[in-house]
């Protein structure tokens, strides 16, 4: 059974059809890329899947449950974690604190446990910190742990956002153009990070403009153009797909990879 199932999802903004009857499935453990020219509706698709916008019509099922129209924090609580095309960090907090907050979904405790601090709570706090440090090591930010998040260069902020999302132990991770604004080395490092996240068993959907990155790591690709799904298949199938070539020839981007 599919981990995520998008069925006939349509999102209309006034007269604009940002997503037009999109359907696809993602299996557990898969790494799917969503590509398409600017304005094709990729981020909108993420916003709908993660509950930030309700779809105009259609449905979203995650892990067998209908999450259509559920609020973002509920969707996230169930293990579907997204990152942002424009990084959204807790700028005033340190790098480590950013990742610690990511653990919210997989930890417990409210006001009373905060006041009473039972041993289980202290243990949990230690684990939160240890996991955060481990994740910073994973993305190569351990040396910057105590720096304010907004003092990081942009490329590293993106990595921090990924580490923070991982702290939530996602079952499905949605990455919205994680390589945007990264240089070649940074992109290579990011590709390695994504590959390892996937190898660790996490299902990933990746929106990306960097075609070489997509062709390298994606198992399957969904192509959007003007809000519609115009193709779906393996990287090789997509490269040879006439509609895809047409869509990209019409625009400024190319499929050269």
């Amino acid at each position: 059974m599919a981990l995520l199932s998008v069925q006939n999802e349509t999102k209309r903004f006034g007269g604009l059809l940002a997503n037009d009857a999109i359907s696809f499935d993602v299996k557990e453990g898969e790494l799917l890329a969503v590509i398409g020219p600017n304005g094709a509706g990729k981020t909108t698709l993420f916003n709908v899947i993660s509950g930030f916008f309700p779809p105009t019509t259609g449905s979203i099922h995650f892990d067998g449950r209908d999450i259509t129209g559920a609020s973002p924090h509920r969707v996230a609580s169930s293990g579907l974690i997204r990152t942002y095309q424009l990084v959204q960090l807790f700028k005033q907090l340190t790098v480590l604190e950013n990742v610690e907050i990511g653990s919210h979904r997989v930890t417990e405790g409210g006001v009373f446990s905060a006041l009473l601090r039972p041993p289980s709570m202290r243990r949990q706090e230690e684990e939160v910190r240890a996991t955060a440090r481990e994740l910073l090591r994973f993305v190569g930010l351990e040396k910057q742990a105590d720096m304010p998040a907004d003092s990081l260069p942009y490329g590293r902020q993106r990595l921090l956002e990924v580490a923070r999302a991982l702290a939530a132990k996602p079952r499905l991770l949605l990455l919205d153009e994680p390589a945007a604004g990264l240089n070649m080395q940074e992109t290579a490092a990011l590709a390695e990070v994504i590959r390892r996240i996937h190898a660790g068993g996490t299902t990933v959907i990746l929106i990306e403009h960097d075609m070489s990155l997509v062709m390298q790591i994606a198992q399957r690709i969904v192509v959007l153009d003007f809000g519609r799904k115009i193709a779906e298949g393996t990287p090789d199938e997509i490269k040879a797909h006439p509609d895809v070539i047409a869509a990209y020839l019409g625009g400024t981007e190319t499929l050269d990879a």
């Binding site: 942002y84 959204q88 700028k91 340190t94 919210h104 006001v111 905060a114 999302a165």
Partner: protein
């Protein structure tokens, strides 16, 4: 074990209280107000500093605490402690009822809604004369008593207020260094990111608002007992303006900022009294001077000494 950043402010507050006790009852009164405001601002800091929301209506909850305690103790013979607790519960429920719809509003809508709340409670305290005695105010509120022992002198009450203020700061700091506290910091930092990590924003804001109301209510009750008299003016707009000055001066979002700000804003006008007509100018000049040279508040200055070590920005 306990870091100097914690010990130093506690020691300073104790020394200041000692000096106050030796300087006569006027100094004791001024310091007593400072500690009551410390409690009020610590709660406000929870909502504004830690959670990053604006409320201009906290005075409403101080009024509930103040009038509630005054009425329960003076008219119904309740003990101050049960009255304090019951009025805190009432304020908490009021905050829940008011916060549930308004906290869904964003930015300045929330600020306006809370401001209206403060004005409404102020009007009620003036108009509902059968309950509040209107402009006349409410007198004859007994002094604080703890465990059946009445704190008859202002000196005894000052010590009690110091302990309560420190206790309030302790609680707020403990709440902050927790999963719940992290969720609040997340909301203050980026609501979009907080939401994407599964944080229930409306719920967290509501809890923070209720906590702030509990502090405000306690401060209102303590004021009534300390002065023995309350009137609508006590919980008017001045209280809001005053507490904002304290919060920003002391350092919003820091643990000790509310206390530092409350003490300075309370003491400064008294210290400048000798300047007579220049007093207001000097007072304003000093406040502006502090805000220019310590834009993150006085508590933020301690990070200057902590450079190089793990620079935990928020832990000043």
């Amino acid at each position: 074990m306990i870091p100097w950043r914690t010990l130093l402010p506690i020691a300073a507050a104790i020394v200041l209280t000692g000096i106050g006790l030796l300087s006569g009852s006027y100094a004791v009164t001024v310091l007593g107000f400072a500690f009551i405001y410390t409690i009020f601002c610590t709660g406000l800091n929870f909502f504004m500093g830690y959670t990053g929301q604006a409320s201009f209506g906290q005075s409403a909850f101080a009024a509930i605490g103040g009038y509630g305690s005054a009425i329960l103790c003076a008219d119904y013979g309740w003990g101050p402690l049960p009255a304090l607790i019951v009025t805190m519960v009432i304020s908490g429920i009021a905050a829940l009822l008011v916060g549930y719809p308004t906290l869904r509003l964003r930015g300045h809508y929330l600020a306006m809604a809370t401001f209206a709340l403060g004005l409404i409670v102020y009007e009620i305290s003036i108009e509902w004369t059968s309950l509040t005695q209107g402009y006349m105010g409410y007198s004859g509120v007994p002094p604080l008593s703890l465990l059946g022992y009445e704190l008859g002198t202002v000196e005894q009450q000052l010590v009690a207020l110091l302990v309560l203020a420190l206790f309030g700061i302790f609680i707020s700091n403990r709440l902050r260094q927790s999963r719940f506290g992290r969720a609040l910091a997340a909301i203050a930092g980026s609501e979009a990111a907080a939401r994407a990590l599964g944080i229930d924003i409306a719920r967290c804001k509501l809890i923070a608002f209720v906590i702030a109301a509990l502090y405000a209510s306690a401060a209102g009750s303590l004021f009534a007992h300390f002065v023995g008299f309350i009137s609508p003016e006590v919980f008017g707009v001045t209280m809001v303006v005053q507490s904002f000055a304290m919060l920003y001066l002391g350092g919003i979002g820091t643990t000790w900022g509310p206390m530092i700000g409350a003490i300075i804003v309370s003491i400064l006008p008294e210290a400048l009294r000798g300047l007579q007509e220049m007093q207001d100018i000097a007072y304003t000049a000093i406040l502006i001077f502090i805000l220019i040279f310590a834009p993150r508040g006085l508590a933020g200055l301690s990070s200057l000494f902590a450079r190089g070590k793990s620079r935990k920005l928020e832990e000043a």
